[in-house]
Every structure is written in C-alpha cells, then in structure tokens.
Amino acid sequence: MEFFRIKKDIPFMRHALAFNVISLVTFVLAVFFLATKGLHLSVEFTGGTLIEVKYQQAADLERIRGALGKNGFNDYTVQNFGSSQDVMIRLPLRDAADSAQQGDRVMQALNLEAPGASLQRVEYVGPQVGRELAENGALALLVVIIGIMIYLAFRFEWRFALSAIIANMHDVIIILGFFAAFQWEFSLSVLAAVLAVLGYSVNESVVVFDRVRETFKKVRGMTTPQVLDRAITSTISRTIITHGSTQVMVLSMLIFGGETLYYFSLALTIGILFGIYSSVLVASPLVMWLGVSREQFVKPKKAAAEGVADDGACV
C-alpha cells in the first residue's frame, strides 16, 4: 500500500499568501470570540461546587431544581451529563464560611425532595485555589513557549524558532477560540491538552524544518521556495500518517473516554488538525518571509573552497 504517489514537489509556497490569509481570518475570528464571549471556565478556575449524582431511572431535572430552590440555594445550574440518569449540579462560590459544606447540603436537599440520587462526585474549589490554578496555567504556557523557542533557536536558527512559535501559538488561540465560540467547558484537563498540543505540533514543525535544513545542505541550485516545497512534499506522507494515528487514538478517547475525557480529546482533535495546517502551511512561509537562505546552513569555509557563489548557486 502506498497512499502518497507524488510525482513532483507540490507548490505549497505559491499559495503561501492564501494559506496565511485563511489562517489570519481564523485567528481573528478566534480572538473575536475570546474577546466577546470569553472562556466558559470550569469550577476548577472559578471556584465553586460541582456535584454529580446518578439516578436509577431518568432524572427529573425540574424536581431537582425545585429541591434546590426550596432549600435556599440560588444561582445553581442543573443539567444532564452524559446520560439522562446522570445529573450535574453547579453552585457558585458563596461568601459564607459554609461554602465547603454545600455538597452535603445539596445531598440532604435531594434526599428529601428528589430521592434516589447516589453521589458520584463532588468537587469544591475555594477562591484562592482557582486563582492560583489560572495563574499557574498561564505560567506553564509561558514557560513552554520560551523553552521551545530557546531549544529551537539553539538547535536551528532564530527564524525557525520564531516561525514555529507563531504558527503554534496561533493553534493555541484557535483551540481557545473554539472553546469560546461554542462555550465548551474549559477545565484543567483541557489546559493540559492545549499544552500537550503545543509540544506536539511544534514537533511537526521540527520535522519539516529538519528536512528544510537537510535539503538546503544537500541539494544545490534550488530557490528557497523550491527547497521548502521539496521538504514539505517529502514529509507530507509521514505528516498525515502520524497525525492520522494520533487522531485515531484521540478519537478512541472521544468515543470511549466518557464525559471526563470528552473536552480533553476535543481540544486535542482541534489541536491536531490545526497543528498540521499551521506547521506546514503557516510556519514554512513565515520562515521564507523571514529570509531563510542556504548560506545559513552551509559552512562558509567549505562553500568558498568549492567555489560556490554567494547566492548558493554553483556552476
């Protein structure tokens, strides 16, 4: 079997501008949704109480709401979670010192008014913890970006580092944009997925850049866009197979992983799809526009000895 029967290098760079415009539009949309709608942050970040209960038969949400209302709760949300038997109840933080006891009080209320609920999960997060988690999350993102940039700059060149980071930050913003646009719940595990995607799709850029470097060194007489086209074309089969495999795994999590892993795998799916797009079609043109050229890879001494001209051409 061989899926990719590519005869000539595909002229990706000819359409570079178009790809980048698409990218830019998506990016702007993502920023727009982030700015207008904002992220629907989970209890972990905002603080509050989350209670998951299970009924033997389909749960009567109205009755549960009534039970909560009667017992002096307000601002609660009650919704089904996964199936009609599973119910998720969310309560915001309260100033009162009894915030930590809300879970027990909800269970008492349910046992009186809507009996039959068995407690599956309670999560209570105090306000200072939420703030810390958000801060640490932002810090982690920053460290990942700086760490990867330093590594790439050290291993390749600043042009590569900069392009890879721009391309992958744009992935991150787009994932966040999706979460904002559809108001999916942004939890700690989604944050983990976002950071994992960042590492993963930088890896994609690295593979392409590795090839770019190699092609520059090996093949002479090609223009920079041609080199980039050659590098992308020769890695495209690997790119698609690899991402396909990872996506299969993520899809399996999406299907079998249950509610807890649902948004986690959703974030990964978006990240993987945009990861391919951005590392191939965004990062490479950026490298080109930043002015990458052959001399940056060939040792000048050797080149001079072989009589290679400044532009990298040789006779």
Binding site: E44, L133, Y151, A196, E204, M253, I255, S265
Partner: protein
Amino acid sequence: MNRYPLWKYVTVAIALVFGFIYTLPNFFGESPAVQVSSAKVTLKVDATTLARVEEVLQAAGIGHDGIQLDNVGVKARFKDTDTQLKAKDAIERAFNPDSSDPQYVIALNLLTASPQWLTSLNALPMYLGLDLRGGVHFLLQVDMPGALQKRLDSTAADLRSLLRDKNIRHAGINRDGDRIVIKFRDAETRERASKTLADNSNDLTLAEAGQGDDLRLLATLKPEAEKKIAEFAIKQNINTLHNRINELGVAEPVIQQQGADRIVVQLPGVQDTAKAKDILGRTATLEIRMVDDSPGALEAGLAGNVPFGTELYTERGGSPLLVKKQVVLTGDRLTDAQPGFDGQTNEPAVHLTLDSAGARIFKDITRDNVGKRMAILLIEKGKGEVVTAPVIRTEIGGGRVQISGRMTTSEANDVALLLRAGSLAAPMDIIEERTIGPSLGKENIERGFNATLWGFVAIAVFMIAYYQVVGLVSVIALATNLLLLVALLSLLQATLTLPGIAAIALTLGMAIDANVLINERIREELRNGMPPQAALSEGYERAFGTILDSNITTLIAGLALLIFGSGPVRGFAVVHCLGILTSIFSAVVVSRAMVNLIYGRQKKLTKIAIGNVWKPGTATADGQK
C-alpha cells in the same frame, strides 16, 4: 551494517524482562483484606500482633488467605468481602474492647493478589488515584496569621507573668494586630523591662515608642521566629489530623504538607464524606480564660451592654457567662486530656496535663483566683463555645488539672477527645474538595482502558496493513512502549489518574510518530534506489535526529506541565514525560533490534516487506499501459 552487538540485544532483552515482571502485578487484581495498625504512638505493631490476629481469626473460625506484617501494620487477606467484614468485626472486638478508646485502627483494605515472589521484588500494581478507586481528597489551608496572633496572645500572657515575677510595674500589656504593646509610666521602668525581655526571649524584636506619660514598648516577632511558628503549626496540625483520621479507620490515608501553609488529605475508599469532613473540619482551638464574676457585670452584659474586655457566652447548661477576652492559656500548652473519675466524689471528670510553661502559668492563675471561675473555650471559626467553666478551689501546681462537675461519662469522653484532638495549632479551612464515588471510579478505569485498547488496535491494524512486516515491528515496539511505561509507573508507584490513562493513550498515539518517520524514511531511500540493507540503516540513522528533536520539544511541554500543574494536570504530566522517555527507547532501540534480527543476517537481501514502494518512474509506466 544491520547488526547489533550482543550487549545491545542483551539490553533490550533485560528491558523487556523488567517490563514484563513489573507489569505483571497489574493483572492479578486485588483481594479484600483487613489491616490492623496502631492508633497510638506508643503502641507498636509487631510479630506478636500478627500472632494475635491469627489467633483471633482461628477462634472465630474465619479462614484467611495469608497474613503479613509490613511497616504499615498487619494485613490479613480473605477470599471475599463477606469474610472480610466478618473478620473485621471479630478483630475489632478482640483488639478494641473499649470502643471509646481504640488502641488499634482496624480498616478494610484491598491488597494485590499477585504471588509472594512478585511482591518481594517490590513489583506492585500501579497506585490508583482517587478518581479511579473512589475516595475523598481535601486541600486544607492553615490560617497562618491566625497561628501567629494566637502565639502573640500567649506570648503577651507570658510577658505579663514574667514582668510580675521580676516586679516590674507596667500599665498594661495588649496585643495590637501583629505586635504586643506594653505601656509604662516612667522611662526607667521601661528600660528595666526592655532589658529583662531581651534577656528572657530570643523571639522578640523590641522597639520603644511614645513620650511623656505615654511610654510604650513594642514587641514584634522576629522573622525566623515566625517561620518556626509556622512550621510548628503545620506539623502540629498534621499530627492532629493523623489522630482524627485514625478514628475513621482508613487503610491508606495520605496526609502531607503542600507548599508553606497547606495540607493535603486523601482518604481512599471513604464514602461517608460528611463524617470525614466533620472530623477534619473540626478546626477547634482551645483557650482558657477567666470568667468575669464582678457583681452587676453579667446583668449589664445581658442587657446588651457588655463590659469592655469581656465577651458574653452561653454555658452548656444554658446559663449565660461573661468571659474575659484575655487568654490565660492556649491549647498549645496542653499535652494530654483523658476521661476519668474524680478520686473523691467519683464523678466523671477530665484529666488534663499541661507542659511546664503551662503548668507555671496555671499555678499563678489559680493561686491568684481561688474561688473564682475559669472558662475553657473551644474556638471554631471565630466562634467560641464554653466547654466547661469550673470553679477554682485551690492553687493547682504540677500541671495536672482535673475538671469535674455536672458531666456525664460520655460527656467527659467527648470533652477529652475534643481537647486532645481538637487542639490545632492554627485554624484550617477546606479550600478544595474532590469526592469520587466507587462506581464512578470503576467506570473511569473501564473508560480509560477501552479508549487505550481500541486506539491501539486501530493503529496496529493500520500499521501492519500499510507497512507489513516492518509495520508489525513498529506495533511490537509500540506494545513494548506500553509495557515499559506501565512497568515504570508500577515501579515508581506514581499515582495513576484518569488524565494519566489519557496520557498513556496520547503517548502511544504520538510515539508511533517515531516509527512512521523511520518507515517513511526507509521507503524514501528505497525509492531513491538504495539497496535494502543500506536503506534500513540510513532510514534509522537519518530519522534519529528528527525523532530526538521532536521528542525534546514535547518533553519541554511535559516538564512545564509537571512543574506548574496541579491535581489532574500533574497526573497527566507525569505519565506524559515518562512516556516520551520510554517511547524513544522502544521506537529506536527495540524496533531496530527486531529489524536487525529479521533482516540483518541476510547478506543478499533483495526485498524488505515494508509494503509496496511506489517509484515515480514505474508509476508513469503503469499509467501509460
């Protein structure tokens, strides 16, 4: 060129054997057990305890599947949960005849059912997190400012008695925020006091303030003293929590300090969260203060006009009580509290033991206040409750105090327990809670397992169809990766959570990347007309640099998650990072070893089963036909 030296094969073989042995315990499952551990520091669980457990079980006619002793306690295994429950009751009766004062913690537990030789190799199943086995997780915040203020209060009391001992007359000692203000009437006395305090206390920084008639000495805690107090407060609270959790009978409680002022409590298997929270949340601190008995003061207080420096409380009997705000003694000074009986009247009583400083203060106080009443208060979340307010009959020295009067036996027990376990060095608040029911835990394991399994199967089918024999090698390498990862997690006893399982799945999905890179490279070299042996070698050599680069960037992200992440994120990050390391090894070394074994020996290798390698030239030819 495609031969490995013997040592490389041996390394791979050793790694596989290691992976196999340490993964093995995960397949045996768990059997129900009863665990006996000590509830008292002074009581050691040793071989005699083991023998006693065996005797008790024999006497009760309950069969067991083995009893063992480890550093936690004695653990006895049973064939099913019914037997386990029966055994627990029998052991409970024998070991704790007085249920109000348990000597041992008897808890239900699950033990690995893997054979003894595996356990002796330290090969244990993976340690499952609370989200997989069910249980309660609490994060408690210790109120450090509260601890410091409390310390200042008792320091103020110490200074008061010190100055009195030295016969230095002051015009009042009070705590004002985080400093103690001592007022004097003349400079000379202040000078003397300052010298005395400096000689007697290393913890305080003294500063002079005020002029004329209003001379003051300001005492603040030195930073190192504050640090010491904070450390002590955390330790004391952890100790107290240990004592309280022993009451709950949890098999493997985790009580750890996190950061400077937080304590994590994890109680696997505990379902009654209300009780757990009740016991943990009793953030009571103990204070002894004097009762204001001056005539008319109580009446004024009841009329809504509480005299300055006092507070109105209600005694347990229901009668009101006016208590001075000044704290005589705090719970820190209390070393023990036991229920008992009054030697003369045979009334139920509580016997308190104070440390030496506490004993001295108590002696002074009782000497000066014979005939008056003192109040023992439990302060919970800023609200005080008078436990008891006894009349001082005589001067009490030696630090042994007996409280009696108007108490039943069970009340005496309660008060003793509250005084003993209730004396936290600083108040605490629950700032995070996670409770996972047992059925959700089981479901989570199943979900994680299914996700990983089906993802793996799908990838395996594709790889073998697409790359044939070389694809099979990649799949075996991937399976090795899984084996090594599970073995490492079991060996390190890192906590496996649902995000951790997700990380296993994701790592597998990403790890196949390395093999795809290699395989594509081999195909490419073949396409360029390289002979098979050379193509294999080149494919591995050339792909290695890329694999390393891409894994390092992923590792950077993983490490950042590990450092800054908490809770679920950390569970993900640990597995993710370990997975990257094992995947480099298995994708590069293990798969190469297999390829070398299969193809390396054939001198005239003409074809590699890596699927059809399409060449541009032949395709055009095909197309033209």
